[in-house]
């Protein structure tokens, strides 16, 4: 994200600013103070901002839901992972055996190191997210659709954004990416972003309105022999991305208060599905290494994650760099399909996550990934799953 000067972040200008200020029947009917508080009239800056709330869309009792949007957004702070960040807490508990909530030292650490990733209504619909420094996107206009660059990939840039736009030098852009055409919101709907009422997912893959390829491509499921022989209900069921994704980014070693202390690198690893309870139709999926380490939370006084070996660090992933022929079926990237990536006992390019891929990891991390690695040789013996 290009840096924005502090004054410019709060400058109401341009067509968006004009439209917002003239919106006297809806949002400007409330006036500045109706949402933000502060003092009326001509004042010095300090007096004007007494009691001022920089983001009145934040929190369960936020102005948006409280004043007008209760029917459609009253559940945002309980049902959307963008608001609850519950996935962080769920995985923290699974790996540590304790909880963040109820432990002041962890709550303080979470507030300092993790809560910036939380999104208020305004972080998507008015300003750039706090996480990247804020700043009005369109002159304070309350945008129905978030801006793909200044909102969505402002947070989801290093992996999703770069993969989707082809910014990584080891992979091309996503087939769905044509600037100005398919935007994030075309797949990731408001229903998903705002959360499904009552769903209260504990991880993001539990969100019922998460997009699925077949939402658009249902007619393609039996369109060719590749699909009919590799999809659910057949002998071997693969996640769509196994054949249709390109190489994607993995990361090592993130530490609270320090950020990524390891490295990022291109990866493409097919493994056993680690979330069969949520994606039961897939036997093999793509896995991405995430930068959780045993001592990730040492900055909070938690030297080691007690149950680190219980949760895989090569995680189910949905890379956003889809092509008709992905890395697995076109390993040379020259448009020539090949089956040898998977259907060979001695493939030139081993696409499976093997025990040998874990050799540089700690014993605990190797143990954490035992259920997702693929034994030596091919698990696919041309039409038969050999597990």
């Amino acid at each position: 994200m290009p840096p924005v000067e502090a004054w410019a972040k709060v400058f109401i200008t341009g067509e968006g600013g004009e439209e917002f200020l003239n919106d006297t029947e809806v949002h400007m009917r409330l006036g500045c103070i109706g949402c933000h508080g502060g003092n009326e009239g001509r004042n010095t800056k300090d007096v004007a901002h007494e009691g001022f709330d920089v983001d009145p869309s934040e929190g369960e009792n936020n102005k948006c839901a409280d004043l007008c949007h209760q029917p459609e957004l009253g559940h945002y702070y309980t049902d959307s992972v963008h608001a609850t960040q519950v996935g962080y807490k769920t995985l923290f508990t699974e790996r540590s055996g304790t909880t963040i909530d109820g432990h002041p030292e962890f709550e303080e650490g979470f507030e300092a190191d993790c809560s910036a990733c939380h999104a208020s209504c305004g972080d998507c619909h008015i300003s750039q997210p706090n996480n990247v420094g804020g700043g009005l996107v369109n002159g304070h206009m309350i945008n129905r659709t978030p801006d793909q660059i200044r909102n969505c990939t402002a947070c989801h840039g290093s992996r999703v954004g770069d993969e989707y736009t082809g910014a990584n030098d080891y992979a091309g852009f996503d087939a769905h990416y044509i600037p100005g055409r398919m935007q994030c919101v075309d797949c990731h709907t408001a229903q998903e972003m705002h959360g499904t009422p009552g769903a209260a997912p504990q991880t993001r893959y539990e969100e019922p309105n998460m997009p699925r390829c077949e939402d658009c491509h249902s007619d393609d499921l039996d369109a060719n022999s590749y699909h009919t022989s590799h999809l659910a209900g057949n002998t071997t069921s693969l996640q769509c991305q196994v054949c249709h994704s390109q190489t994607y980014k993995s990361c090592n070693a993130c530490h609270v208060g320090e950020g990524i202390t390891g490295s990022s690198y291109p990866s493409f690893e097919i493994g056993r599905n680690p979330i069969p309870d949520l994606r039961s139709e897939y036997e093999y999926v793509l896995l991405r290494h995430i930068p959780i380490a045993e001592d990730t939370f040492r900055g909070w006084g938690l030297e080691d994650l007690e149950n680190y070996e219980d949760v895989e660090t090569w995680k189910y992933t949905s890379p956003h760099n889809i092509r008709r022929l992905g890395t697995a079926v076109d390993p040379d990237g020259d448009g020539t399909p090949s089956c040898n990536g998977c259907h060979s006992d001695s493939p030139e390019q081993d696409l499976f996550l093997r025990a040998s891929d874990l050799e540089d990891l700690s014993a605990d991390e190797q143990a954490a990934n035992q259920d997702v690695i693929v034994p030596s040789g091919t698990p696919f013996s041309l039409g038969r799953t050999d597990r």
Partner: protein
């Protein structure tokens, strides 16, 4: 109306046109609500007057007080 009365009326009208001088609240505001310079950090303005004026914001907002600061980037697991 006599010439003397007309002249008096013109003088009074002209005086009001000039507006009050030395009123701190309005020193930086012209008759149309626009800003006149120079703008200083203690300028007194309404919310909209200030937040629609690049000059006023430059005079009153410093990088040091930026509540968000810096840049970050984050993505969840997987």
């Amino acid at each position: 109306m006599s010439k003397r009365a007309l002249l008096s009326l013109l003088v009074v009208t002209f005086a009001f046109t000039l507006g009050p001088v030395g009123c701190s609240d309005d020193d930086d505001i012209d008759d149309n609500g626009g800003l006149t310079g120079p703008i200083t950090a203690d300028v007194q303005l309404t919310c909209i007057e200030c937040h629609t004026s690049e000059e006023a914001l430059r005079a009153t907002v410093s990088e040091e007080e930026d509540p968000h600061g810096g840049e970050g980037e984050a993505e969840g697991e997987g």
